[in-house]
């Protein structure tokens, strides 16, 4: 046992990531500078977008957003209030929420249940079925668009929010199942058996053991799925109509109508960016390391 513990420590130091190794060698300085540069490259345009969304459109011709830093008087909430008065935009914002929330929750729930079944239940054809799921991973969305459009009109649900949700769930599931099945199968078998001995049914094992232990993977999945659906334009463009279109589609159509319309696009884009950011902040606390620690041995 002591031998095993010491090898863990040894491999632990050998297998450290390249980032940690660079950090160790340069005393963290170079790495820190690199990270700051990357962060600036990403954040400056975002910051610019924020400022732009707060500037009076009349000033746009007089210079870039950075002028607002020296002339804070240019700043105003008028763009936002104008935007929130545009019913096309507010309506599409709620459409986005109505599409994204169920499409995320359903993918996580179904993916987790299926992942558990593929990882831990024995049923005939399990491995063959899992191969099919992996096969579905490589099917590109574009191939399915036309047949699904036909299918939806045959079913009479074209243009509805439901149709977009179903499409996102269907295309989110293969990856969700794949990810969660692999994560769940890393949970030690002894834990499942201990729970079984303790009197747990499969359902209890799923809710009381697998879901809590799978939280890091489930949180990553939820974030990815949420971002994907929230930012989706292609699927929404094809399956929604004017009453069900999400924010991405609504904003895209604004450009076409007005030519330059930064006063609408900037606050709209910022509005659409805020929600995923909040979701990310909320879920990131589940990325805890070493959830399994102390369980076996």
């Amino acid at each position: 046992m002591t031998a095993a513990a010491s090898t863990d420590i040894v491999t632990g130091s050998i297998n450290r990531g390249w980032a940690a190794r660079i950090a160790a060698r340069t005393g963290g300085g170079a790495l820190r500078i690199f990270l700051i540069v990357v962060a600036l490259v990403w954040l400056i345009p975002t910051f610019g977008l924020l400022i732009e969304s707060l500037r009076d459109p009349a000033q746009y011709a007089n210079g870039g957003w950075w002028d607002a830093i020296t002339h804070p008087a240019q700043l105003t909430f008028s763009n936002y209030s104008a935007l929130l008065k545009t019913s096309a935009i507010t309506g599409s914002f709620w459409n986005t929420v109505e599409i994204t929330v169920p499409a995320t929750i359903l993918v996580v729930l179904i993916g987790a249940a299926a992942g558990y079944a593929f990882a831990w239940l024995e049923f005939p054809g399990r491995d063959a079925l899992f191969l099919v799921v992996i096969g579905l991973l490589v099917v590109p969305i574009q191939i399915a668009l036309i047949p699904v459009v036909k299918l939806y009109s045959a079913l009479g649900i074209s243009g509805s929010i439901l149709s977009v949700v179903i499409f996102h769930v269907a295309f989110g599931l293969p990856f969700a199942i794949f990810l969660l099945r692999n994560y769940f199968s890393g949970i030690p078998r002894d834990l499942m058996e201990a729970a079984r001995m303790d009197g747990a049914t499969e359902g209890r094992i799923f809710f009381r053991i697998v879901l809590p232990l799978g939280l890091p993977a489930i949180a990553s999945l939820a974030i990815f799925q949420f971002l994907w659906v929230w930012n989706d334009l292609l699927v929404a463009l094809i399956f929604t109509d004017s009453s069900s279109q999400p924010l991405t589609v609504a904003l895209a159509s604004q450009t076409r109508q007005f030519g330059s319309s930064i006063d609408v696009l900037a606050p709209g884009a910022f509005l659409s960016l805020i929600v995923p950011l909040a979701v990310f902040m909320f879920f990131q606390r589940f990325f805890v390391e070493g959830v399994m620690a102390g369980s076996v041995k």
């Binding site: 002894d190 201990a194 729970a195 303790d198 009197g199 049914t201 959830v291 620690a293 102390g294 041995k297």
Partner: protein, 399 residues
């Protein structure tokens, strides 16, 4: 509490591996039964069939009077302690111990009371709100025990529960498990490959080899009357010495073992206890002598018919004893497959010596003055000798 009965139980895995064959064991109510045997002999497989974690391919398992072959683990009312402990990492000690009770919809106050009682018994009261990762190995082991005892099950099943602990803690926990089982009186099946655990804990010990039960008996009986070469060699450390001999009988019914140029005279009690020995006259036999039955003749006294010449090849002073590896000009009983397997299993082939001399391990008194390379006379406690059929390996007892 209940008895557990296995009748004609067998396990064949899907790939055709046979792990257990025709196992017939009755564990009495309140008994502490230990399964012991070399690695891969099927101990875990047998235990898991009782637990319900493994399907029973042949035979019947009964817990109490109920046939449980098709009963899922949760309805068998037995608790298991895993070698890995298998604690729920996301739950506190309190919830780990209480998990089974919560699942059974026991009232909260009752769960709390039982968990706290169990924690007190196991010395875990201070740690109830910790997560497993913040416990030491010994404390984790106790939590695993606690999870089993709070449920007050029909039986405890334990699969090498101490093998992840260091030597000192293992001894301590071994004593605690023994005491706990005595206090609670719960029927227990305990799997180990450590014969000290088997001997100290078990009311009875079942020795298993390649899925087949060899002998089931109280520890002392297992030691004194092993049923075959395998059990004789497996139980006891250092292992029993095996020598080849021919049985001779003279006109006065005096039995002698002829080993090469040397002979051992058997006291009358040996053939009296073994009526079957008469059938071996002038035939080969395997002689088993435990290390503690061999003493330096300068201490035990030189006795005709019991003293043999040897040479000390290795001397290990243990303080209380002197472990001496001797080479003797005798034929070693190395031909039998059981002996070959045992030597592999225990890693105790003795010291390899170039010529064909027998290697014998003896436990001398620390008063012995023997030095490496010295010729030494040894005296054998011939009344303690073990005799086995040279072909079947079975102990020679009744006709």
């Amino acid at each position: 509490m209940a008895r557990i009965a296995l009748s004609h139980v067998g396990k064949v895995y899907e790939d055709g591996t046979r792990a257990v064959a025709d196992l017939n064991i009755e564990v009495e109510d309140g008994e502490f039964l230990v399964f012991v045997g070399p690695s891969g002999c099927g101990k875990t497989a047998a235990l898991r069939m009782v637990a319900g974690l493994e399907t029973i391919t042949e035979g019947d398992v009964r817990i109490g009077d109920k046939l449980v072959n098709n009963v899922p683990p949760r309805d068998r009312d037995v608790a298991m302690v895993f070698q890995s402990y298998a604690l729920y990492p996301h739950l506190t000690v309190r919830d780990n111990i209480g998990f089974g009770l919560q699942l059974r919809k026991m009232p909260k106050a009752e769960v709390r009371r039982r968990v706290e009682d169990a924690a007190r018994t196991l010395g875990l009261s201070e740690y109830l709100d910790r997560k497993p990762r913040n416990l030491s190995g010994g404390q984790r082991q106790r939590v695993a025990m606690g999870r089993a005892i709070v449920r007050q099950p029909q039986a405890f099943l334990m699969d090498e529960p101490l093998s992840n602990l260091d030597a000192k803690l293992r001894v301590q926990m071994r004593a605690e498990i023994g005491k706990l089982q005595r206090d609670l009186g719960v029927t227990t099946v305990y799997v180990t490959h450590d014969q000290v655990e088997a001997m100290t804990l078990g009311h009875r010990v079942a020795v298993i080899r390649k899925g087949v039960l060899q002998q089931i008996a109280p520890p002392q009986e297992l030691y004194d009357r092993p049923t075959n070469l395998f059990v004789a060699g497996f139980i006891g450390s250092p292992a029993m010495n095996f020598l080849s001999a021919t049985v001779l009988r003279d006109d006065n019914d005096q039995y002698t073992l002829e080993m090469g140029a040397e002979t051992l005279v058997l006291p009358p009690s040996v053939p009296v206890a073994r009526p079957a020995l008469a059938g071996y006259v002038d035939k080969p036999i395997v002689v088993g002598i435990r290390p503690e039955d061999i003493e330096d003749a300068s201490i035990a006294g030189r006795q005709p018919g019991r003293t043999l010449p040897a040479r000390a090849e290795l001397v290990e002073p243990l303080g209380s004893d002197l472990m001496v590896h001797l080479s003797m000009d005798l034929p070693q009983a190395s031909g039998h497959e059981d002996i070959a397997e045992l030597a592999e299993e225990t890693g105790e082939g003795g010291v390899a010596i170039a010529d064909e001399r027998a290697v014998v391990v003896a436990r001398f008194s620390p008063r012995s003055q023997v030095k490496v390379g010295d010729p030494v006379q040894i005296t054998v406690a011939t009344e303690q000798i073990h005799l086995f059929d040279a072909t079947t390996g079975s102990a020679v007892w009744d006709a």
